[in-house]
């Protein structure tokens, strides 16, 4: 593993990082590897050379880590690599010197992720602070989207895809929703 950035073979729990899929079966809003980067497909169109030519697919994707735009054009019979993307939800336990302490369902805690830059980061810190003040009655989850894709994320501490939802205990689950809960 000379260059960890380009390593596709090792990763999380032995699952393969990508799998091939015929271009025509890709879909907008799905994922694909473009120029070696895992991308969300934001545009997909076909064209052909000459009236009797075969279809080519034009893909525009946005790197899920860097938000950079990548494009590719290939025959529609071509097999493209689709990244295996895994999202995990963590409960936010604490914030330490700009790093988040996150707990997985199985109780493992990871502390290698930095608080995101910008407004979202500030919001997380404020809410977390407020949460501490109000120990009783309030309790919130911090849902965190996260990609186990590149082994080097640990080095760079990259997180791009964050989501926070605040729930108040006991609220919302009423009426027909019970149906869902029971199921």
């Amino acid at each position: 593993m000379a260059d960890p950035d380009l390593d596709f073979t090792s990763g999380d729990a032995g699952a393969s990082e990508t799998y091939p899929q015929q271009c025509s079966a890709l879909r907008k809003n799905g994922f694909v590897v473009l120029k070696g980067r895992p991308c969300k497909i934001v545009e997909m169109s076909t064209s052909k050379t000459g009236k009797h030519g075969h279809a080519k697919v034009h893909l525009v994707g946005i790197d899920i880590f860097t938000n950079k735009k990548y494009e590719d054009i290939c025959p529609s019979t071509h097999n493209m690599d689709v990244p295996n993307i895994k999202r995990n939800d963590y409960q936010l336990v604490d914030i330490n010197e700009g790093f988040l302490s996150l707990m997985l369902d199985n109780g493992d805690v990871r502390e290698d992720l930095r608080v995101p830059d910008g407004d979202l980061g500030k919001e997380i810190e404020t809410k977390h602070g407020a949460g501490e003040d109000m120990m009783v009655g309030t309790f919130f989850f911090f849902f965190f989207f996260f990609f186990f894709f590149f082994p080097w994320f640990k080095l760079n501490l990259v997180y791009e895809h964050c989501s926070v939802a605040f729930l108040t205990e006991g609220s919302n689950i009423t009426g027909p929703l019970k149906y869902f809960v029971q199921n």
Binding site: A15, Y19, Q22, C23, S24, A25, R27, N29, G30, K40, V42, S45, T46, S47, K48, T49, G50, K51, H52, G53, H54, A55, I62, I64, N67, P75, S76, T77, V82, N84, I85, K86, R87, N88, D89, P116, G118, L120, E123, F143, F145, E160, H161, C162, S163, V164, A165, F166, L167, N172, G175, P176, L177, Y179, F180, N183
Partner: protein, 1150 residues
């Protein structure tokens, strides 16, 4: 001139502002520019600016300032009309005209603007008859007779300004006049003044056409008058007694046909008029600009109809004269490029306007020379159009002309029973042949050949947005197909032999490539040129054959065209049925190698030729030559087969008065032929889906063929007897390759087809088995998956997600297959899934693309099924939709996402949710359910006692969605439209539900309405205004005061009042705003009086005060006391229009 006090200051201020505005962008800042604009705007709004403006016009040297002064005069005259002395208006008009006359060197735009002001004065004056219009015509005719080209040009400009001011309705709102006023002005104008303008114009044209040598200046005057003549002849004559609403619709029509009133008979029904235009055209035809006008004048004359003709004889002789003139014009000349469109317009207008009886009453020699001429012209334009395509010209004049002529042919031959029998056969043969020739490659045809015979061949990039030829040229193809039917005797065998020949060559070519491939390991340097030429030939031959053999009507049963049927019947005695069936049943063999192939039915033989093409394609795919094939040809084949199958397969003898034996023997119900062909088509579909998954369009055409095969019960009955069908179903259910490579829309349609097929006639065991193979695996796999204990852990694994996504796609496909007779079982099946889908919403809340798809399933189910559902079932659907919305809202409120696609994702979700709500709401006005008849015997009792309407659910849904709708999201136009459509719907259909809404929801609803009224597009604003009347009526009904709704409507009264009275609004909205205002006034009479009082009391000018007070009195006079009564409302709306015309502009004065 008291207003001129301080005029020099005003002028210097305006001139420096003009300097700023005219400066290049780099020289001035945005603020400076805005300030300068503001100076002009407030100048134009200033009160009685006439003195200053006159002064400016006389002294200023800055053109832009002169222009603004003219505009200010025009606007102020209209605004202050009622306050002005009649003779001061008169003198203002004279001043402006003299001003222009004395300054021949004015900038064109300044002059036009001043003349526009004159025209506006004349028009506004015709309302109160205070201005004598006649004097202006006197002045103009004097100008014309002066013989001075400059003065004549000016005269023409005056007439043009008058004409456009009186003709065009989009100017109306600019001067605040009602449509009715506009209409009556126009009517008076067209009876008298317009004719006077026409006579003046004709005199000028006469004069010029006599002169030998025209210098440049004279010919420019000539051109202006010719354009004016064209404008008069294109006048959209208002018929008497056309209602206010219709006028707007009427005015919007393009391509006006000339339908003058009776009073024009003398002026227009005179052969000398027509002759003059033919003479004029001959004189100027080399000048392409002028030629366009003269030909357009002739085209307008060719469209003349209506009360101007006293009887049919007059029409016949008019048409005869027109045709003679036309023929002698065309026959003597070589047509210029610039003439093609004009000439085809003349012909097309003649053929569309004159009734068949007039055409057939023409002298037969004249008629046949016209038809000959039309034939030659069509063929020649067709060839030139093909040349234009080769040269890739931007301006395709011949193509446009060719389209027009083909369209005219269609009109002619569609009613050919009026004409002598067979009179169109020869022309049809010629036009058909030339079309085919232009579309085939050399040596048979001339495709891609430039004028000197050089072939051009380039490969351009074609994107998916470009339409397929079958759509792009559908009009041409429909005409050619129709002509082909007229000359079926010639055209069907021609197409067959050309196609058979191309297929044989294609077969040979592919075989050579294959041998080459097997012989050498080196990659074949394929010469695509030969193949592509063959593909392109086959492409056009199949398209023409498809359009010839069948129509593709939307929503009705397509019938075999009578010409084709007759043709087949006529030859049925010479036909050997067995050989015909043999030709049909052996697509793998060369048709000409079958003994007796000359004694086959030609219609069946043409289909067989396409089947042969299909067979060559299928065999090539099996021989791994896919790379060499053309997906375009693949599309053409399945497109043709689909079109053909809709019309010919299982031909229903009851629908025809006579039926061809060969056709009914080969394709009739219970025939081996039909069974064979269904099997063949099915095999084709399966083959295509497995080898062409990478070609989305071809795969789509293929599944559409499959849907066609199963959507009609009779066809489906045969389909389900095929083993292949079952294989397809099993293969798809098992999600094994290659079907899973298909893109998701295709998989959806495939699922739809499989479900539709399941409702074919089968014995109950078979049926049970079928569903066990198709639907149950879907359910089983899904249940197994989500019921796994560790589903929560594995749900994010890609394989699991794919399975889920595939299931959701399939559910959409199942919903799409809903028909009235299967809704019962499909609904129950889908309901089980919908409940589980809500669970998935939770599981996949972090996966926006999956959430989106889940909502889509609900949208589809509601869209396709709600209208058939009885009360119990509807309730179930409402409930589950409601739960979906609750979960969605819970998961998305307060959520923040950091990625770029976040907004787009949410936008898509909300759009789908709105769609879902609208679909649910549609139950209230489209309901096909018959008190649960579909479900009779099933759980009748559970629904009893509950009365939840769609409105309850939708309102609840809106409540959930509303917090998510941010003002940012409303910036997406489609989302905004959908949202306002939804809330207007709710107010209109269920006004009684509005007062019962929870407070918060009520507030946001009212806020939405206000926002929509005040700060959205006019379309949305209109929607909101429409929602107000039902709300006010609701309040009046309950008679309760101090309810929140009552208070809200009071607020809206003020908003609407201000909107109508104080703000400049467009006239389209007057009706919607007026209706809303009236109902609100009825409800809040005291508040209305207060509003009027406070408005009046703020007026300091006594004249304006009186004027306004009178106007308000007249406004409500017809409806005192105001009551919610239709008659009174209409009367109010009428007075409102006058009110807006009279004082609308007055209140805007600063």
């Amino acid at each position: 001139m008291m207003a001129a006090v301080g005029a020099p200051e005003v002028i210097s201020q305006l001139e420096s502002a003009a300097k700023v505005l005219m400066a290049p962008p780099s020289m001035v800042s945005t603020e400076q520019r805005q300030h300068a604009e503001h100076i002009f705007l407030s100048f134009r709004k200033s009160k009685s600016p006439f003195g200053v403006c006159k002064h400016i016009l006389e002294t200023s040297k800055v053109d832009y300032v002169l222009f603004q002064a003219a505009t200010a005069i025009m606007e102020a005259v209209v605004r202050e009309w009622v306050l002005l002395e009649k003779n001061s208006i008169e003198s203002l008009r004279t001043f402006l005209l003299t001003y222009v006359l004395q300054r021949p060197n004015l900038q064109k735009y300044v002059r036009e603007q001043i003349l526009l002001a004159v025209a506006v004065i004349v028009k506004r004056g015709s309302l109160d008859k205070s201005i004598n219009c006649k004097s202006i015509f006197h002045e103009v005719s004097q100008l014309i007779s002066s013989g001075n080209p400059t003065v004549q040009t000016l005269a023409c400009s005056i007439l043009t300004a008058l004409l456009s001011e009186f003709s065009s309705s989009n100017k109306t709102s600019n001067i605040g006049l009602s449509m009715e006023f506009h209409g009556s002005c126009k009517r008076v104008f067209q009876e008298d003044d317009l004719r006077q303008i026409f006579v003046l114009t004709m005199e000028v044209l006469q004069e010029f056409s006599r002169r030998e040598n025209l210098n440049a200046q004279m010919s420019s005057v000539f051109q202006r008058y010719l354009a004016l003549a064209n404008q008069v002849l294109s006048w959209n004559f208002l018929p008497p007694n056309l209602g206010r609403h219709y006028i707007a619709v009427f005015e919007a029509t393009q391509n006006v046909m000339l339908k003058p009133t009776e009073s024009w008979r003398e002026a227009l029904l005179d052969n000398r008029v027509m002759d003059l235009f033919f003479t004029v055209h001959r004189k100027i035809r080399e000048d392409s600009d002028m030629a366009q006008d003269s030909l357009q004048c002739l085209a307008q004359l060719a469209s003349m109809h209506g009360p101007i003709f006293p009887d049919e004889t007059a029409q016949v002789s008019y048409l005869a004269h027109m045709l003679e003139g036309l023929l002698s014009m065309i026959n003597g000349i070589e047509i210029e490029d610039s003439e093609a469109v004009g000439i085809s317009n003349i012909i097309s207008n003649l053929i569309t306007t004159f009734p068949r009886s007039v055409l057939t009453a023409l002298p037969s020699e004249l008629f046949s020379s016209f038809i000959n001429c039309l034939t030659l012209l069509t063929c020649s334009f067709g060839r030139s159009a093909a040349l234009e395509e080769v040269l890739d010209k931007d301006d395709m004049v011949y193509m446009e002309a060719y389209d027009k002529l083909l369209e005219s042919w269609l009109t002619l031959v569609q009613e050919d029973e009026h004409f002598p029998r067979g009179c169109f056969v020869q022309p049809a043969v010629q036009v058909f042949n030339s079309y085919i020739q232009c579309h085939l490659a050399a040596p048979d045809g001339t495709r891609n050949l430039t004028a000197n015979g050089v072939a051009s061949h380039d490969e351009e990039e074609i994107n998916e947005l470009q339409e397929d030829d079958r759509e792009l040229f559908s009009d041409q193809l429909a005409s050619i197909g129709m002509l082909g039917r007229i000359a079926a005797e010639h055209c069907i065998p021609l197409l067959t032999s050309l196609l058979e020949d191309r297929v044989t060559r294609l077969h040979g070519q592919l075989q050579r490539h294959q041998q080459h491939l097997m012989a050498s390991s080196a990659p074949d340097s394929v010469d695509r040129k030969v193949l592509d030429d063959l593909y392109e030939d086959i492409h056009w031959l199949i398209l023409v054959s498809g359009y010839l053999l069948a129509d593709d009507p939307q929503g009705e049963t397509p019938l075999i065209p009578s010409e084709v049927m007759e043709y087949s019947i006529k030859h049925s005695t010479e036909v050997d049925i067995n050989t015909t069936l043999q030709i049909l049943g052996s697509p793998g063999e060369k048709a000409t190698s079958i003994p007796g192939c000359n004694r086959t039915d030609s219609v069946i033989r043409l289909l067989s030729a396409v089947l042969r093409t299909s067979e060559v394609e299928s065999r090539a795919t099996r021989a791994s030559l896919i790379e060499l094939l053309s997906p375009q040809m693949g599309k053409d084949i399945v497109w043709f087969l689909r079109r053909w199958a809709k019309t010919y397969l299982l031909v229903d003898e009851k629908l025809y008065s006579q039926i061809s034996m060969p056709l009914s023997t080969a394709f009739g119900a219970d025939t081996e032929g039909a069974q064979w062909i269904v099997g063949y088509l099915l095999e084709k579909v399966i083959n295509n889906l497995s080898v062409w998954s990478s070609e989305p369009e071809l795969a789509n055409d293929t599944v559409e063929l499959l849907v066609t095969l199963v959507e009609k019960r009779e066809r489906a009955n045969i389909v389900v007897q095929c083993e292949n069908w079952w294989n397809l179903a099993k293969q798809f259910a098992s999600r094994s390759p290659p079907l899973h490579l298909l893109s998701s829309p295709i998989q959806r349609t495939l699922m739809k087809a499989l479900v539709l097929g399941g409702f074919a006639h089968m014995d109950s065991d078979t049926k049970q088995q079928y569903w066990a193979e198709v639907l149950h695996p879907l359910q089983q796999r899904f249940l197994n998956l989500i019921n796994q204990e560790n589903f929560a852990q594995i749900c994010q694994e890609e394989a699991v997600k794919q399975e889920i996504v595939a299931t959701l796609e399939a559910l959409c496909g199942i919903a799409e297959a809903t028909q009235i007779d299967n809704v019962g079982s499909l609904f129950s099946f889908l309901m089980d899934f919908l409940s589980s889908c809500i669970g998935l919403m939770e599981v996949y809340q972090n996966s926006p693309e999956t959430v989106n798809l889940i909502i889509e399933v609900f949208v589809e189910v509601a869209h396709k099924q709600i209208c058939y559902l009885g009360e119990t079932k509807s309730m179930k659907l409402y409930e589950v939709c409601l739960t979906l919305l609750q979960v969605y809202s819970k998961n998305n409120l307060g959520r923040k996402r950091l990625d770029v696609a976040a907004e787009e994702d949410q936008y898509q979700d909300l759009l789908l949710i709105m769609e879902l709500l609208t679909n649910l709401l549609s139950k209230e006005f489209i309901d096909f359910s018959d008190t649960d008849e579909v479900f009779r015997g099933q759980e009748q009792s559970t629904g009893a006692g509950r009365t939840v309407s769609a409105a309850d659910v939708v309102l609840f849904g809106v409540n959930i969605v509303l917090p998510l709708m941010s003002q940012d999201l409303l910036k997406f136009p489609s989302l905004c439209n959908q949202y306002y459509k939804l809330i207007t719907f709710i107010c209109e259909i269920f006004p009684e539900k509005i007062p019962q809404l929870p407070e918060e929801l009520f507030k946001s609803l009212m806020f939405s309405l206000e926002l929509g009224m005040t700060s959205m597009s006019s379309e949305i604003s209109q929607l909101c205004l429409e929602a107000l009347s039902p709300l006010a009526e609701q309040c009046a009904k309950t008679q309760e005061k101090d309810t929140p709704l009552f208070i809200a409507t009071r607020h809206f009264l003020k908003l609407v009042f201000d909107m109508l009275v104080l703000q400049k609004h467009n006239t389209e909205m007057t009706v919607a705003a007026g209706e809303a205002l009236y109902t609100l006034v009825c409800l809040h009479q005291a508040e209305y009086s207060e509003l009027v009082e406070s408005l009046l009391s703020s007026q300091r000018d006594a004249v304006i005060y009186q004027r306004l007070a009178d106007a308000f009195n007249t406004l409500t006079a017809s409806s005192t006391p105001p009551t919610m009564d239709r008659k009174q409302k209409v009367a109010f709306l009428k007075s409102l229009e006058e009110f807006v015309a009279n004082v609308g502009g007055l209140l805007c004065v600063k």
